[in-house]
Amino acid sequence: MDFTFTQDQIAFRDATRRFLMTEAAPEMLREIWETDAGRSPALRAKLAGQGLTALSVPEANGGLGFGDVDWALMAQELGYYGIPDSLSDTACVAVGLLAGLAKDTPGRDGWLERVVDGDIRIALGHPINPLIADAQLADLLLLYHEDEVHAVPRAAVDVRPSPSIDQSRRLGQVAWQPGLATRVADAASGKRLWADALDRGALCAAGQLLGLAQRMLDLSVDYVAQRKQFGRPIGSFQAVKHQLADVATRIEFAGPVLYRAAEALANRRTDASVHVSHAKFACGETAWLAARKGIQVHGAMGYTWEVDLQMFVKRAWALDAAWGDRGFHKTRISDFVLGDDAPLGPGRSFLE
């Protein structure tokens, strides 16, 4: 029993953090937001250079062969630095899906290797998401059709963009025609793959939400420590302090929930989906709380486009319902907790 990360995991996380701190400063994010594509190929290339796109790809395909536990850490960093790129869709969720295809599926190995190299963007058409993120920019789309998985090149789909309050999210409605040529998994194996993709997508969203919460808290702490009213920093007022203390408390208790979900998913434990839903719910609520309290302690500034806070707030609002909204995840929790043989109570936590 050791519920901690390895030194390697921490070192990789810290290296990524140092990299993003310089490569993804808020000014740069704003620049990328304003572009038509909303994506920076240069940043994507650098992320690949850092090994982020190789992280989950099996070693047999030239990747690092890590997994969900590592992504629980990475996703937090992507959230914290507000990376305007659906990187985890390609490098974690799509990789999981591709790696799960029969080994002789045409294209599989090539796509995985291109993910490692960082020169492919894969969009995911999971039915839980009414719109597809980054569909317009993708090289390849993995699409759902009656439980089957279809791999469709961008040229074969029609994308109608639908703007989000989070300007870094580029969503679209996708029209396409399924056919035998695009099918890479039949309904029987597709059903399992899509279920896994949902859990993995929700886990990455949860991680980002937790990172976003921490960023909003940090920005708020910085602001209230320096902003003065009535002759003193507003951060010295109890009413301000206590709101931020509540955010810090919720963050403290959401992290371990995320990590357990990652471990359960990585090891395919019986109730992994429930743990993922718990993580998504806990991290989503925490991020919304951090957003609300962040805006509040920023005062009128919190309501503007000018302070950096807004970028993180908007992503938190948006991601909360991506890969399953609260109702979806609460239902999975509810079905588990209220089930007849639920392993509740002390002493049953890590036994299966």
Binding site: P130, R160, Q229
Partner: protein
Amino acid sequence: MDLTFTPRQQAFRAEVRAWLEAHVPRERLASYDTREGFEQHRAWERKLYEARLSMVIWPEALGGRGCDLIDWLIFEEEYWRVDAPLRVNQNGQLLLGPTLMEFGTDEQKKRFLPRMASSEDMWAQGWSEPNAGSDMAAIRSKAIRDGDHYVINGQKIWSTRALFADWTFGLFRSDPASERHHGLSYLLVPLDSPGITIRPIKALNGMEAFAEIFFDDVRVPVANRLGDEGQGWHVAMATAGFERGLLLRSPARFQRTAQRLVALYRAHRATADRDPAIRDAVLRAWADAEAYMLASYHTVGRMAQGAKIGAEASTNKIFWSELDLSMHETAMHILGARAELLDHGKEASDIGQWLEGFLFAQAGPIYAGTNEIQRNIIAERLLGLPKS
């Protein structure tokens, strides 16, 4: 206690309803935070004025209709019932208007109020400064007397729609040696005065809803001063806080939102009920919107009997701003993965309106005195607790 409307009140309601049904624009106007929308709303205000419906509680001689507050509640109910356009000149009409009514000279009243009622003059408030937000008395902008003018230097911020408005009003330090609440004067300033620069501030939704106003040797005639020199704080604070707060946030608005939320919930009931918190929040929305309406009628009745309403205004502010936020959060959760979609997206239909309302609701607990300040006021003035 008589909770029925008199025949006169019923007739007034019928008149307002008929007029609105005949005149409310069929298409939603553009946002009043754009130049185009601003002018559309000004035109609408003109129509209201011509029907003597823009400021129903003002005296007829000043462009109003001489109604009491019950009539005003009725007017607002009818107005929100049909989703008539937002009121673009409220910062003038409701923040400055009552103060002018109380402290203005006869000449000032005649000069400013009818044009305010008709929105020929559009007003932007100039309350805040970069370092005088919650701490209102920390004002630094100066207005130094020079013969029959004041010369203004300084900066105001969070001036709503100042980019498009004609006038601003606010407090300026006319005695440069003074501190805090002393030595301030209340001035009305044309926004086209030489020396004024207006820099827009983008709101959360990306629109230029606010502005900073920079004053560089701006000359304003002494005739534009409201109340006595150096008495600006007194003038600004004296107008009944409760009535002003009530007029700014009429109960009908929140009843309308609650009604829309119930409809949204019913339309999405199957998915919404997967999260049991949603139904609870919907019921609370109705209950609290109803409570806010009832409290308004109750207080208006007490005021008519001569009761003075003071710090209770702060309980109003907290109540409606938290209610508004909670209703919009609930709507976002009902909409789920589509909640993030902007109005102008093709998939959005009426989703974008909820999102827009959700963004605006974020400002509720902040503007017009943060809810933290309101809680201080309640604790100190209503409950009598010691100052910190």
